[in-house]
């Protein structure tokens, strides 16, 4: 099966939805692929269902979540085609997409492709993080949004950043008791972040909302422990206890659920498979897809918008999506340059405003050094069970970086294809060789990006 479109978009989050809605309005035949079952992306996951059948959960999730209903509705009305439950598992440099839905695989060609694949939680290896009962805070939040599940039992939250605080507040509103919030932000970060305060204050009400969330947590009496380091999860068949150091003392807490969060990082797997350029973002400590102000990656057909091209949050992503749509319409001859530029002004300014909070957040909540450089026994590659110690050993033997480490250790060669270990591996090699991470590089990404059977592969018309 092969179909043709003017504009094919991967990702139905704020960026992809805004792009599709505007592109359809500009007369482009557009389609959005997303492996989730409903539109909204990570932030607005299940927004239609929650608004329709679980409004109580909507109030707990808060106004920033409920905001998502309108863009989702606008997208539904727009006339853009929507392929839910559909994974994009390969992309060629000419933009041809290979997609898979319920055992059916096919290729799609489009004149212009937009990668709006969003972000994932930064994977931070620490001892015991593979135990059942340890997961991401965003993962637990996805269970609440998508299925109305809440954590149960002895629950510990560890980490830092806006999503960490937000989820703690959401749990407090839902009446879910939390044994402790283990806060990993280092105290001297605040001093450094002060330099970025003036810009942050001009970014809108992010700071005010952050402070109000902290007040909400204090009022709710959630136990908060700051200056936490050296986290580890202990158990055999599942989590039993969380250990950490605070105030120079080692502590142990009984727990059956440990939720961890150290910010989000771009989901670059598709853009890397397509051969787009990537650069190391030093403040954010992640790789991002390089693109210009319109999202164009310079590869000819492929653009990138939203969190996958650098973390900016949902509102910045929405404007980036619109800019990519305007540029697509221009490149496909539906808008002249003057009209594109005129219509882009508002979105450019608004995106820039939302981005002003980022230097402040990046400085306040960098992944702490003890998490970037976990102890030797830590499984860094979850799939192939390669430890930090093994990586350091092969580095000492002369292994230069992640791609060679694959041959030495099979690191990054399991089903997640390095998504979970890639950043940690790069940090470990950079330290071992005494060079910046930008010089170490990333795993070469190879298709298929998703599990696909030989039978499904055979169906793809090549």
């Amino acid at each position: 099966m092969s179909r043709d479109y003017d504009f094919a978009i991967v990702g139905a989050g704020p960026a992809g939805l805004a792009a599709a809605t505007l592109a359809a309005e500009l007369g482009l035949k557009s389609i959005v692929f997303d492996e989730q079952g409903a539109p909204g992306g990570q932030i607005y996951r299940a927004i239609e269902e929650v608004s329709g059948t679980r409004p109580g959960d909507g109030s707990i999730l808060g106004k920033d979540y409920q905001y998502g209903l309108e863009p989702v509705r606008a997208f539904r009305r727009s006339g853009a085609e929507y392929a839910p439950g559909t994974s994009v598992w390969d992309i060629a440099s000419d933009g041809a997409l290979a997609v898979l839905r319920e055992g059916k695989a096919w290729r799609v060609r489009a004149a212009r492709v937009l990668l709006a694949a969003g972000a994932m939680e930064r994977p931070v290896p620490f001892p015991g993080w593979t135990l059942p009962g340890v997961m991401g805070i965003g993962a637990a939040q996805a269970l609440f949004k998508g299925a109305g599940l809440v954590p149960d039992g002895a629950v510990v939250l560890a980490g830092s950043g806006p999503l960490f605080t937000l989820f703690a507040v959401q749990l407090a509103r839902a009446g879910v008791p939390v044994a402790a919030l283990l806060m990993t932000a280092q105290k001297n970060n605040s001093w450094r972040a002060l330099a970025h305060l003036p810009a942050a204050l001009r970014a809108g009400d992010y700071l005010a909302r952050g402070l109000s969330m902290m007040r909400e947590l204090r009022r709710a009496g959630v136990p908060m422990i700051s200056g936490v380091s050296n986290l580890s999860a202990v158990g055999d068949e599942g989590l039993k206890a969380v250990e950490y150091i605070a105030g120079g003392v080692r502590h142990s807490l009984q727990a059956n659920l440990l939720l961890v969060h150290e910010g989000v990082v771009p989901n670059t797997q598709l853009a890397m498979a397509a051969g787009c350029n990537h650069c190391w973002d030093e403040p954010g400590r992640y790789w991002r897809t390089e693109s210009d102000e319109w999202g164009d990656t310079g590869t000819g057909i492929i653009a990138s918008a939203g969190d996958c091209s650098g973390i900016g949050g949902a509102r910045a992503a929405e404007h980036a999506g619109r800019l990519a749509a305007l540029d697509a319409a221009h490149r496909l001859g539906r808008l002249d340059a003057g009209e594109r530029d005129r219509r882009a002004k508002r979105d450019l300014a608004a995106r820039a405003r939302h981005m002003r909070i980022r230097p402040f957040l990046d400085t306040l909540y960098p992944p702490p050094p003890w998490l970037r450089h976990p102890p030797d026994e830590t499984l860094v590659c979850r799939c192939e069970e390669v430890t930090a110690g093994e990586l350091r050993r092969v580095a000492a033997q002369g292994c230069p970086g992640p791609n060679q480490a694959k041959a030495f250790t099979r690191c990054g060669m399991g089903p997640c294809q390095g998504r979970m270990c890639g950043l940690a591996v790069a940090e470990i090699f950079a330290k071992a060789h005494g060079v910046p991470v930008s010089e170490i590089g990333y795993f070469r990404v190879r298709p298929p990006l998703k599990p696909i059977t030989v039978g499904e592969l055979a169906e793809v018309a090549l």
Partner: protein, 102 residues
């Protein structure tokens, strides 16, 4: 680890985990249904045999791989439940799909 919040109006659906009947809700993922049921491990590591369960819930960690209606290596966090679905945890050594392609 997780429980259902009360205010859920969605239709109830029956799925089977290794023959055992589970009540799931329409629209939720297989991973959500198993976690709500109290399933501890979804699979075993193919290297050490250690227990594994969903980590990311957004399709990137591949810890949630289960067999669904006879097809191995499905991402439980992305597949919605369907009436009568048969699910088994992956306990054997198993080559995972991305590697079948040279």
């Amino acid at each position: 680890m997780f429980k259902r919040r009360h205010n859920h109006k969605a239709k109830s659906i029956t799925v089977y985990l290794e023959g055992e009947k589970l009540a799931a809700r329409e629209g939720e993922s297989v991973a959500a249904a198993l976690l709500a049921h109290g399933t501890g491990d979804f699979r075993r590591s193919v290297i050490s045999g250690g227990p594994r369960a969903p980590y990311c819930m957004i399709g990137v960690c591949f810890e949630c791989l289960v067999e669904i209606d006879g097809v191995a290596n499905r991402q439980a966090c992305l597949v919605p439940v369907r009436e009568g679905m048969r699910i088994s945890r992956q306990y054997g050594m198993r080559e995972v799909a991305p590697e079948i392609v040279p």
